[in-house]
């Protein structure tokens, strides 16, 4: 019985204390008035000094949104959200857009340092050359800093906050905004279209291989604030870019809403690699608080031989509703989705992907690893479809689920739709618990139960971890161990 | 019997064979040796008519027949047999059913009557016994769950049963232990005949200790670069393929 008590104590001890990003930054903010109306939208647009066309675009989305109902098909449960009880815009009070690093509020720089995100352009550290990563930091509703801009500009790469892109590159924004995720797409994407505040913009010109990893770091700080960022990445013909996204939020008792939209466009022979490590606050051990992560991410392989690859490590959020997808329009284009989704406590994950094969000889690959612990529910939901004209379409899907403990659930809901004979779709899925034999073997060699579990889980997700850029992979591995703490007795 | 003239072949736009010339006479055992990637397996597939290979030039004749104009099954009926390097697994089709279908299809194509079941069974049992293939194995689906050695033995069994004129053996020695190699070689040797030709493709000399070739061709970068007697194989065993890779460059 002593062992049982020990387990109970341990489980009690972990909960939110494992979430090391839960601090609040004390900084003065200015916010839009609470609630959502045309006035809110006008306020946001005016704050950003947007052109008329963009304001109209937002208002159109808002008019559409009020006629829509929140989707209910996902396996997630939460109390009804009062959309009038939220703030839709919050910015550190210091005025407008991004500036040089020296001018950024030191409080903010400290926040990012604490989060392990260097907002300094350090190239050589103690004589060791580190791989360089350009960072765009988004704090609540605005981008506060973007690093390495000058160097990127030399290569012709545009990497800036979304607001800046609207000012400096309106023709590109106007051409591509909403061309992958139309403002009418779904409830959350439409809401985002009306009130999105900031986000990142990337354009890589023809034939250019972006000289460094690009990264955006999202942080929700303010109370009762929704975060609605918008990311738009365009890889022109023959271009290549690798983009990383990280997210955290303070521990708060209320639920915070995050409804982002990410659009990727890859033209002929271009490649976009998009990696996410999502570690929004998951809520406490009783399921109180945490981020509602309702995100629409979609890539369009618009050109021949284009390639879009999504990699995600999802450990945070109270609720995750997210299906990074690929429209395989260009002939011989390719889509990939690599996912690790870990849920513990009372977390609910409903995530997966869509691979829509429209062009000839398109191919896609899905590797999904779901791990459910505690009292969480973890669902993979995926769609693979081949249009009648998509002859030669190929998909391979592998989705495996691991259950740790008998209070959680792991679910697999694939839709596999072939509309022509020259399609080869293969799908396999397994659900099991950690093998007793493997555990025993590790324990016998002296590992603790938690170490052994982390080790085995890391092996289980290895195929996906390998897809992450090096620095992220190490971080992700640690994150996996942290999120599973207390899941074994 | 086999006459390959100036044959060029590519796959997915990648050229593999580049103006290859080769003649194999009736009654002859010709060995083709060469480094990996020299195009040996491609040659065997093109002779058998595998669809994804694109012949960009040249001709392949089996006596009076232009093989390149024939479908794979028609070539088989004319007496072309390929012992695959990787025999294909066909779940659900019993080996026995498959053998009977193949044998009778070839007989029909040649205007002969189907073999009666007792005659067929006798022929299969005889071939199985000489190749030490357990008759129970023939009830199982084609190549499914067979070991590497079993697959190769069943390939030779098919050859013995179908009595082809031109036997192409593609790396038949790969994956065989010494006993299996001996059994397979004996099976091949038993079929040597004045009216039959063999094209033995191999990377290593050791198969040729068991199946003595009359002629040895060395292949590199899609062509035959040297032809000689059995002593050439021994020389290759000693010196490797380095000289030939450079010679063709």
């Amino acid at each position: 019985m002593a062992a049982v008590q020990e387990t109970v104590d341990r489980v009690r001890a972990i909960d939110v204390d494992a979430y090391k990003y839960g601090f609040v930054t004390d900084i003065e903010s200015e916010r839009a008035p609470k609630g959502l109306s045309e006035d809110t939208v006008r306020y946001i647009s005016a704050k950003k000094g947007e052109p008329e066309w963009l304001l109209d675009w937002r208002l159109e989305a808002l008019r559409r949104w009020v006629t829509m109902t929140e989707p209910t098909w996902a396996r997630v449960e939460y109390p009804k959200i009062d959309y009038q009880d939220l703030y839709y815009y919050s910015a550190p009070k210091q005025g407008g857009g991004p500036k040089s690093l020296d001018e950024v509020d030191p409080e903010l720089l400290k926040t990012y340092a604490k989060l392990g995100i260097p907002l300094v352009e350090q190239e050589i550290l103690a004589g060791v050359e580190r791989p360089r990563v350009a960072v765009d930091a988004v704090f609540d509703s605005v981008s506060v800093a973007t690093t390495f801009k000058a160097e990127l500009a030399k290569a012709g790469v545009i990497f800036c906050s979304f607001s800046e892109a609207v000012r400096e590159h309106p023709e590109l924004v106007r051409k591509y905004l909403g061309s992958v995720v139309p403002p009418t797409d779904n409830f959350y994407a439409t809401l985002n279209s009306a009130v999105f505040s900031d986000g990142s913009f990337v354009y890589v010109p023809p034939g250019v291989r972006c000289p460094m990893e690009l990264s955006t770091y999202f942080r929700i700080n303010e109370k009762n604030t929704g975060q609605f960022e918008r990311t738009l990445i365009i890889a022109d013909k023959g271009a290549y870019v690798s983009y990383l996204e990280g997210c955290t939020a303070p521990k708060r008792d209320e639920n915070q809403l995050h409804a982002a939209v990410v659009e990727l466009i890859a033209l002929d022979d271009a490649e976009i690699k998009y990696s996410t490590v999502q570690n929004w606050y998951p809520g406490d051990a009783q399921g109180k608080g945490g981020v509602y992560n309702f995100v629409t991410k979609r890539g369009d392989c618009r050109g021949a031989r284009a390639k879009i690859s999504w990699t995600q490590v999802e450990t945070g959020s109270a609720i995750t509703w997210k299906y990074p997808s690929c429209i395989l329009r260009g002939e011989s284009s390719r889509g990939e989705f690599y996912s690790i989704a870990i849920s513990n406590g009372y977390q609910q994950v409903d995530s997966g992907t869509k691979m829509i094969h429209l062009g000839r000889n398109t191919s896609s690959r899905i590797i999904s690893k779901g791990i459910a612990a505690g009292r969480s529910q973890n669902t993979y939901r995926g769609q693979v479809s081949a249009h009648a004209k998509a002859t030669g379409a190929r998909n391979f899907t592998n989705c495996d689920s691991l259950l740790i403990g008998d209070q959680c659930g792991a679910h697999t809901v694939p839709y596999i739709e072939a509309k022509n004979a020259e399609t080869v779709f293969e799908h396999e899925a397994t659900t099991s618990k950690i093998s007793e034999d493997q555990l025993f073997y590790c324990l016998q060699r002296g590992l603790s139960g938690e170490e052994a579990t982390a080790l085995i889980v890391n092996g289980f997700v290895r195929d996906v971890l390998q897809q992450l850029p090096m620095e992220f992979a190490v971080e992700a591995q640690k994150l996996i161990a942290i999120s599973l703490e207390g899941s074994v007795g | 019997m086999l006459n390959v003239k100036n044959l060029s072949v590519s796959i997915h736009g990648q050229p593999i064979l580049d103006g290859l010339n080769l003649t194999v006479k009736a009654g002859e055992v010709a060995a083709i040796m060469g480094p990996n990637g020299s195009g040996k397996s491609t040659l065997s597939y093109v002779i058998a008519g595998k669809p994804e290979y694109e012949v960009t030039g040249g001709e392949v004749w089996l006596d009076g027949e232009n093989l390149l104009e024939l479908a794979p099954d028609e070539r088989a009926a004319k007496g072309v047999f390929l012992a695959f390097q990787y025999p294909v697994e066909i779940p659900g089709v019993a080996t026995m059913t498959f053998l009977k279908a193949a044998l009778n299809a070839q007989r029909r194509a040649r205007g002969e009557a189907d073999l009666t079941t007792p005659d067929f069974m006798r022929a299969v049992r005889g071939a199985a016994a000489s190749l030490k293939v357990d008759p129970d194995m023939l009830k199982r689906p084609v190549n499914v769950g067979f070991s590497g050695g079993e697959k190769k033995r069943v390939e030779i069994l098919q050859m013995a049963l179908l009595q082809p004129r031109l036997c192409v053996l593609d790396e038949t020695d790969s994956g065989l232990d010494i006993d299996a190699l001996r059994i397979v070689s004996e099976g091949v040797n038993a079929l040597r005949d004045a009216g039959r030709a063999f094209l033995v493709i191999t990377h290593y000399q050791r198969l040729l200790d068991h199946i003595k070739p009359d002629v040895v061709h060395v292949m590199s970068k899609g062509r035959i670069v040297k032809t000689g007697g059995p002593e050439l194989a021994l020389e290759l065993e000693k010196n490797g393929y380095r000289d030939y890779s450079e010679a063709a460059a």
Partner: protein, 411 residues
């Protein structure tokens, strides 16, 4: 979710209401029809009907088939005389009604009685069945071994039948259920409620070889501890076929095997949707379905395996494989797992594709012509599903159907 928020009846729904109004049914049947009116015909917005929009497809409702008269029964007898037997005692329903005069005398211990009992009208197709069927037939199988052949001999019109079958503890039953006689004017709605007692075993094989315009078949089976059900269905006919199975076990150590083969050509559409409920520990389930889809036909497979909390040591495996033979053939697969217990091993696989070119080439290289090679591979593909049928006589008959279908296609 209010699917029919506009509450506008389709022509078919209105026609059904008219037909029902002309009857003088019992109270439970009235309740069932009321339930149907609330539910409406299922649409693709109902997750279980995602790929078969019955509301859109059912444009005309056939008139209710009348109870068979003497002439109809005579014609049925003639048809039965030339129908080779595939099982023991023959039990016959003509146009959905029990026809005792055409049945074999039941062996001792086997009982057949009409019953007004009905399940809950919780689903539209079942609700329609309860509303329109003139009661159900209760079949009690004897202890020990038994073999029954159930023949549905159906003519034109809307036909509703419902069977309740019980296999007592430790009994071993073989059932062959055949749907025969239907034509393009037949709309069929058949429901089977099957119960297996402790350690009972039932092998149930269904043959759908006739050509109904609409074939709706619902099977609900509940197994007691250590019982075993081996269910197989061959679908080789019918313009619009929907088989919906709901199978589960409430006590430990049940074994469930559900399998089938669909042979689809022309513009046929066949939908197999099943839910498998592991509600107790140590259950084993195997789903194994194969589909050959030619021409402009379309196949659907939706399989959901639910492992309830506490159903530890569940061992589940599901596989659905389809071969598409034409550029316009379609296949939709949705193999689903819903798992709430941790000590389980569950997996599923689904493949869709054309015949393997490597295999074709291997056969060609041995001298077997293209068409013959294809037929050989297709027959092997189908035969691997038929292997799940334990009874050799029945399996032979199924293989014969498969060969005939392949031959019909080649011709």
């Amino acid at each position: 979710m209010s699917v029919h928020s506009l509450n506008v009846k389709t022509g078919a729904e209105a026609a059904l209401a008219q037909q029902f109004a002309a009857l003088s049914p019992s109270e439970p049947r009235r309740a069932a029809f009321a339930a149907f009116e609330r539910l409406g015909l299922p649409t693709r917005r109902d997750e279980a009907w995602h790929y078969t929009d019955l509301r859109a497809r059912l444009t005309e409702v056939a008139a209710l088939a009348p109870a068979p008269d003497a002439a109809r029964l005579e014609a049925a007898r003639a048809a039965l005389d030339v129908l080779p037997r595939l099982g023991g005692m023959r039990l016959v329903l003509v146009d959905g009604r029990w026809a005792p005069v055409l049945c074999d005398a039941p062996p001792s211990g086997l009982t057949v009685v009409p019953t007004p009992d009905a399940p809950e009208p919780d689903e539209a197709v079942v609700a329609l069945n309860i509303a329109f069927a003139e009661g159900a037939l209760r079949i009690g199988l004897p202890p020990g071994e038994s073999s029954v052949e159930i023949v549905h001999l159906d003519g034109p019109g809307a036909i509703f039948s419902r069977l309740e079958v019980f296999v007592p503890a430790r009994a071993r039953a073989t059932v062959v259920e055949r749907f025969e006689g239907a034509t393009g004017e037949t709309q069929r709605n058949a429901v089977t409620i099957l119960g297996l007692g402790e350690s009972a075993r039932c092998d149930w094989t269904t043959l759908i070889a006739d050509d109904a315009a609409l074939h709706l078949e619902t099977r609900r089976a509940r197994l007691a501890g250590e019982a075993a059900l081996n269910d197989f269905a061959l679908i080789s006919g019918g313009a619009l076929v929907r088989r919906q199975l709901d199978v589960g076990h409430q006590a430990a150590s049940a074994k469930i095997a559900l399998s089938g083969l669909s042979l689809l050509d022309g513009t046929r559409h066949a939908d197999t949707t099943l839910t498998l409920r592991h509600a107790a520990p140590l259950g084993q389930s195997r789903e194994y379905f194969r589909h050959i889809v030619a021409d402009a036909a379309s196949g659907v497979y939706q399989g959901k395996v639910i492992v309830s909390p506490g159903a530890q040591k569940t061992d589940g495996a599901m596989k659905s494989q389809a071969l598409l033979l034409s550029p316009t053939a379609q296949m939709n697969n949705k193999p689903e797992l819903e798992i709430f217990a941790d000590d389980v091993v569950c997996g599923h696989g689904a493949t869709v594709g054309a015949l393997d070119p490597q295999q074709i080439f291997y056969l060609l290289s041995r001298g077997i012509p293209q068409r013959e090679a294809e037929a050989m591979l297709l027959e092997a593909f189908g035969a691997e599903a038929i292997e799940r049928v334990a009874d050799e006589t029945v399996a032979d008959a199924l293989r014969e159907r498969l060969r005939a279908w392949l031959k019909g296609r080649a011709a």
